[in-house]
Amino acid sequence: MDRQHMRSPLARAMGLGSAKKGVEHWWAERVLAVALIPLTLWFVASIIAQTGSDHATFITWLRMPVTTIMMVLLLVALFHHTALGLQVVIEDYRHAGSKFAALVIMRLTCFGLATAGIIAVLHIAFGG
């Protein structure tokens, strides 16, 4: 057996001790979820209304200030919520070294995708 064997049951249960944090992550996930309810419903309704429209119509819609603002807010909230959510999923199922690698990749991907999406929206809104 491993070096854990001689430790007392209580020492094993205590592990590395309490992080004395965790509420920030939990709270941010809920606040973003609340923000996502109107944002995603607006988005789905708009996409349904846009069904079958061509590039020009779509661009015109995206250039409306309200649309631009809502899209940027949506992308920020959505990828932040996703990063926090996927972090919990990874921590649940991945342990030891692969956990840290997975967390880094996931974080950077979410950050990159959010940035790309926002730049695309701003490019359409303000580009020539």
Binding site: M1, H5, R30, A33, V34, L36, I37, T40, L41, V44, I48, A49, T51, G52, D54, H55, A56, F58, I59, L62, M71, L78, F79, T82, G85, L86, V89, L113, A116, G117, I119, A120, V121, H123, I124, G127
Partner: protein, 134 residues
């Protein structure tokens, strides 16, 4: 307490997920998780779509074509269902987090409401989209 000698082989672990009965509680919890992961993948499609729109009409037409294909429609339908499931399940979670709805009968009633609501909303959304699409 019972001393265990290190030479002894480890005690077996009694089965958990292999035998534990799926209940509405655990099934909807894992459904909320799977739908969250599906939506995360859907978010990648969203960004690709926005980038294509920014790149110009040709790139946009390619992505629109892919989404209009048979496979694209199946993916979109799956994302719609995942969205409404996660939305309804998420609202249920938010109510719980405020401290309400923990009576067992309410847990079950809200659970079935999530199932019915997400199916109904998905169907409604696609009917609306098909009507507007012509």
């Amino acid at each position: 307490m019972m001393p265990t000698s290190p030479a002894k082989r480890p005690r077996p672990l009694s089965p958990n997920i292999q035998i534990y009965r799926p209940q509405l509680t655990s099934v909807l919890s894992i459904a909320n998780r799977i739908s969250g992961v599906v939506l995360s993948l859907g978010a990648v499609v969203l960004v690709i779509w926005l980038l294509a729109a920014a790149a110009g009409p040709e790139a946009y037409a390619v992505v629109q074509g892919a989404l209009a294909s048979w496979l694209g429609q199946v993916v979109l339908f799956g994302c719609t269902f995942a969205f409404f499931l996660h939305l309804c399940g998420g609202i249920r979670h938010l109510v719980w987090d405020m401290g309400y709805g923990y009576e067992l009968s309410l847990i079950y009633a809200s659970g079935w409401a999530v199932v019915a609501g997400s199916v109904a909303l998905t169907v409604l959304a696609w009917i609306a989209s098909l009507l507007l699409g012509d």
